[in-house]
Structure formats: C-alpha cells, structure tokens
C-alpha cells in the first residue's frame, strides 16, 4: 500500500514572481517517515503541497509515486491523507461524520463505512467522541480526529503540515509519541513538515533541512546533529556554542584559556561545539575558565550561561545538584574532537 515518492527537478515560482522552492530532487523510499525541517518561509510547506498535488511544479518538474508520474493528477485522485496545523475539521459534521467523509465521497457501502470509522476511532482512542460536534473538542482531540479522518480511506501517503504546532508543550510531547508509534505500526510513507528541530529529530527516519527554498542537508537525525554540513544546519538543529580564537602551537587560544587543536589550518578561527561536549571540572583541571552569567535549574539538569571564555556567551549543562550563583567562576574541559570548523 505504501509508495515511494520521487521529486524530479521540482521548482515552484508563485504568480507574484517569488521562487518558493528551487529545483530540487528527492527520493523517499516506501514506508519512510521523512521530515522537512526549516525556518518559516524556507519552502518546506510548498514542497509538501507539491507532493500533495495542491500546487503544480514549474514546467519540467515531475512528481512520481512508485515510478508513475502523478504531476498532472489532481489531489482528489492522488489518494493522499493530509493533516493540517489548523486541524481543518468540517464544522458542520460530527466527529464520526468527519472520519466517514473520505469513505462517503468514495461511495463505499454504509456497512463498510461504519466498520472502518469504528476501526479508526478505536485506533485513535476517540470512540466515545463519535457523536460530538468538532467545536466541543480540545486541540489534542481535534488532531486525533484529523488523523483518523486522513487515514480512513487508506491513503498511499500521509502528509502532515506542522500538526503539533498549535498544541501546548505537554500535549505536543504526548501526541508526538503516539504519531511516532502510529507511523511505525502502519509502515506508511509519511512526509512531516515542522519548524521544531526536537520534533524533527524524534520523528524522522530522515530529515531534510531546508533553507531559502533549497535543501541544506538530508540525512538521519544523528547525521544532521553530529555531522552538520553547514553553519546553518549546525545552528538550526540543537544548540551550538561558538569559540573565537587563534590557533598557535597546537592549541586554540581563546579569551579564557586554551584547548588542544587537532584541526588543520591556523591563524584566527571560529569553531562550533555542542553544549554536552564541555564538562565542568574542579579549578586547576580546566582548560578554560569562565564566569557564570545566569543559571537555569531545569530539574534533571542545570543550564549555565558562561561568559569570559570567548566573545559571546557559552551554554553548558550539568547534572550535578550544586547551586550556581551569577559571577561564580567555572572551569571547563572541551572535547577537542567536538570542535567543528564550518565555513558556510
């Protein structure tokens, strides 16, 4: 049931002349969950809409489902399931009516419709909401109904456009877990659009990081996180610290001390590293020394903003239960292998 999707030199220029998506090529194997990640205006939603058939690519671009060219086939006949940020439930129908809609327009017999609606409501654990009006639902319930509705006609691909953005943090986490479990169980090709990097990393088999209509990097979440290919990707995904200094005698000399340098090149450089690659140590054992600007107790961890090591502020996290006061000295060891030099 699930299909492979292929985009071949798909570009989209809108009527007003703005180029939303530069020509891009992409293959999505059947059953994969792929996440388009990027800031607003990067073209991720437009790409989703090209796959859905809500937008047509510029001449020359092609969209293939399992090698069949669907570029000219309109969305009603592409058999795709869509879930929107704004839920887009039909307000004039009940929950059951919404889920049934895709079956009704396909003219399925009543008994088959009822059975499928039952199955979908059960799967999304909303059986008891069947007769509710959609305006009586909470945001989380609405999104469950939207998922049930999209899946009811057994679509070939599920397209999700920021489905969790309108929900609050706790609900977002809970529904993210459920969507993940659902996608793994159904083994359905799914395209998920989000601007939230945590969501992208948690859900995606692969992530497509986009910037200004172009693909910045494609890869598994850990490739994107541990081996970003550009400064944009490095800073958009997760937290990055910057160290500005001079390479001299095998060390990177910064304001607050020096770190062993294993990279090539020399002279003035700016390198990046992730907060978890720096460890807080006792005075004397540290490579660099800084000053606590602020500390945030996060429960399982404490996040420190450290001044005085480089020109900016560094973010460091620690799991010890000490109380950190602003102004206090802090000594750090930074893993020399964690230093990334990225030009772009």
């Amino acid at each position: 049931m699930s299909v492979a999707i292929k985009l071949v030199s798909c570009a989209k220029t809108f009527a007003d002349g703005t180029r939303a998506v530069g020509p891009l090529d992409l293959e999505i194997p059947p059953g994969e969950t792929i996440v388009f990640l990027g800031p607003s205006g990067c073209g991720k939603t437009t790409t989703l809409r090209l796959i859905a058939g809500l937008e047509s690519p510029n001449p020359g671009g092609r969209v293939l489902f399992d090698e069949a060219d669907v570029t000219e086939i309109s969305i009603e006949r592409r058999n795709v399931g869509m879930v929107f940020q704004s839920y887009a439930l039909f307000p004039n129908m009940t929950v059951g009516g919404n889920v049934e809609y895709g079956l009704r327009v396909r003219k399925l017999p009543a008994a088959a419709r009822a059975a499928r609606v039952e199955e979908m409501l059960g799967m999304m654990k909303i059986g008891e909401l069947r007769h509710r009006r959609v305006d009586q639902l909470s945001g989380g319930q609405k999104q469950r109904v939207a998922l049930a509705r999209a899946l009811a006609p057994q679509p070939r691909v599920l397209l999700l456009d920021e489905p969790l953005t309108a929900l609050d943090a706790k609900l977002r986490d809970a529904l993210r877990v459920e969507i993940d479990a659902l996608l793994r169980r159904l083994r359905m090709t799914a395209v998920y659009v989000t601007h939230d990097q945590a969501e992208a990393m948690a859900l995606g088999d692969r992530i497509v990081v986009m910037s200004q209509g172009q693909v910045a990097q494609v890869g598994r979440p850990r490739d994107i996180y541990f081996a970003p290919q550009s400064r944009f990707v490095a800073e958009f995904v997760g937290t990055m610290n910057r160290l500005h200094g001079v390479v001299r005698n095998g060390h990177l000399e910064v304001m607050g001390g020096r770190v062993p340098w294993r990279g090539r090149g020399g002279g003035e450089v700016e390198v990046l590293f992730r907060p978890e690659r720096a460890a807080i140590v006792e005075a004397g054992a540290g490579q660099v020394k800084g000053r606590v600007a602020t500390s945030f107790f996060l429960g399982d961890r404490t996040r420190l903003l450290v001044e005085g090591v480089s020109s900016g502020t560094l973010v460091v996290e620690t799991t010890d239960r000490r109380d950190w006061e602003p102004g206090q000295d802090v000594h750090l060891v930074i893993d020399p292998d964690a230093l990334l030099t990225l030009d772009r």
Partner: protein, 246 residues
C-alpha cells in the same frame, strides 16, 4: 408600537380589524403579493449573489477591483431613484423598449409589472449581498477545502459539503436583511406606480388617503411581525448577530 397594537385592536371592530385583512381580498392580495415578491427577490438574490460573490472572491482578473468598487454604487441610491431608473430602462420611453423595437418591432415594456418591481429590488439587493458573500467567503478556511479534496471530494462535493455550509450564516443573515428590505421597500414601488400594490403602499393609502387608521395599524403590525419573525428565525439559525449587520 404598543399604541399601534392598541389602535388596531381598539378600533370600531376590535380585534376584527385583523379579520378584515383576511376577508377583504384587496388587503389579502396586497399581503400575499408582498410576501411572495420579497421571497422571490430573496431567493433570486441569494443564488445570483452567491455565484458572483464566490467567483469575485476566488478569481483575480483585470478590472476586478473596479467592478467590486462599482458594487457599492447601488447602495448610494434610494428606492425612489431606483424606481426612476427602472422606468428609464424598461418604461414606455425606456432603453429596453427602444432596443426591442429595433430588433423585434415591438416595444418591450415591463417597468410597471411584477418584472419591473423585481428588477428594481434586485438591482438594490444583489450588490449588497454580493459584498456580504465576498466577506464571508474570505473568512472561509481554505484548508477545509483542501482537506475535502485530499479525501477525494470532487469540486461539486466541495461546494456542497464545505463552501455552502461555511457560508450558511452569511446566507441566513443576508437573506433575512434582503427579505426585510424587500418587505418594507416603498420608494421603488411608489415611483413605478405598478399594478401590484405592495403592503407599505397599502398602508400609506389606507392611512393618508382614506384615513382608515385601524386597518393601517393592523397591516403595519402584520408587516412588522412577518419581517421580525424572518429576522429572528435567521438570527436563531445562524446563532450570530444577524441584526448587527443589518
């Protein structure tokens, strides 16, 4: 208003004044034809204005903004002027008459018939409802339509299941206002001096010319009652403040 009721009921025949309206053919005819006229105007207006309104909202073409701006013109002309225009178009010396005489050899004159009245009322009500429909169509969530299409709905099914239900409050509100306006329109009918006597004209005649205050009061109450009922029904059905946009 309470006084109106009192005058109607307190007349020589008491509550029988209301009976007169049903029994006297002239009053009954006037009442029925007014309600029918208002209903027909409302129905025609809604159909024409919805198609035009949704089309104007969805499509961008050269001259569109000029056309939309022109829709506000008819709002600026009172009923008397509208009646006047209908006569100039379809009256004995009217434009349509001149044209049809050239083509068919016979003058088409319909200013003074039901058709003329209908033309005048439609001229006034259609632009107003088009603007309401456009405003409502603008507020429809385009995602709803996209969701329906992704589920396999054809264009016709999208119209039936998404657009029409979405415009329902606007329909009810615009329809009620349209009906109320048509029920009460006086200037147009008066100017056209048609063969059809609409209720406001009957009231005027009874009151001013015949000094038949009791019947005039009873007719006013009935006219007000029907119109208010239409507004109230629409308000209940739409659940929103229909009257506020009146």
């Amino acid at each position: 208003m309470a006084r109106l009721v009192a005058v109607a009921a307190g007349g020589p025949a008491g509550l029988a004044a209301y009976g007169v309206i049903v029994t006297e053919p002239r009053y009954l005819r006037s009442l029925v034809s007014t309600v029918v006229l208002a209903a027909v105007v409302t129905a025609l207006t809604l159909v024409i204005a919805t198609i035009a309104g949704v089309f104007l909202q969805r499509n961008r073409f050269p001259g569109r903004s000029v056309l939309v701006a022109m829709l506000t013109f008819p709002l600026a002309f009172p009923g008397v002027v509208v009646g006047f225009m209908v006569i100039m178009l379809a009256g004995r010396q009217g434009l349509i008459g001149d044209l049809t005489r050239l083509v068919t050899g016979e003058r088409l004159v319909f200013a003074y018939s039901m058709a003329g009245l209908l033309t005048g009322y439609l001229y006034f009500s259609i632009p107003r409802v088009i603007l309401t429909v456009m405003a409502a169509a603008e507020k429809l969530d385009p995602r709803l339509e996209e969701a329906a299409r992704s589920l396999g709905a054809s264009s016709w099914q999208v119209v039936r299941d998404v657009i029409v239900p979405g415009l329902r409050p606007a329909f009810l509100s615009a329809g009620a206002i349209c009906f109320a306006t048509a029920m009460g329109a006086f200037g147009t009918a008066f100017t056209l001096a048609t063969e059809i006597e609409v209720l406001p004209m009957t009231i005027y005649t009874e009151f001013t010319l015949r000094a038949n205050i009791v019947v005039a009061a009873a007719l006013s109450i009935i006219l007000g009652g029907i119109t208010w009922l239409a507004l109230a029904l629409a308000r209940t059905a739409a659940g929103s403040s229909v009257a506020a946009s009146a």
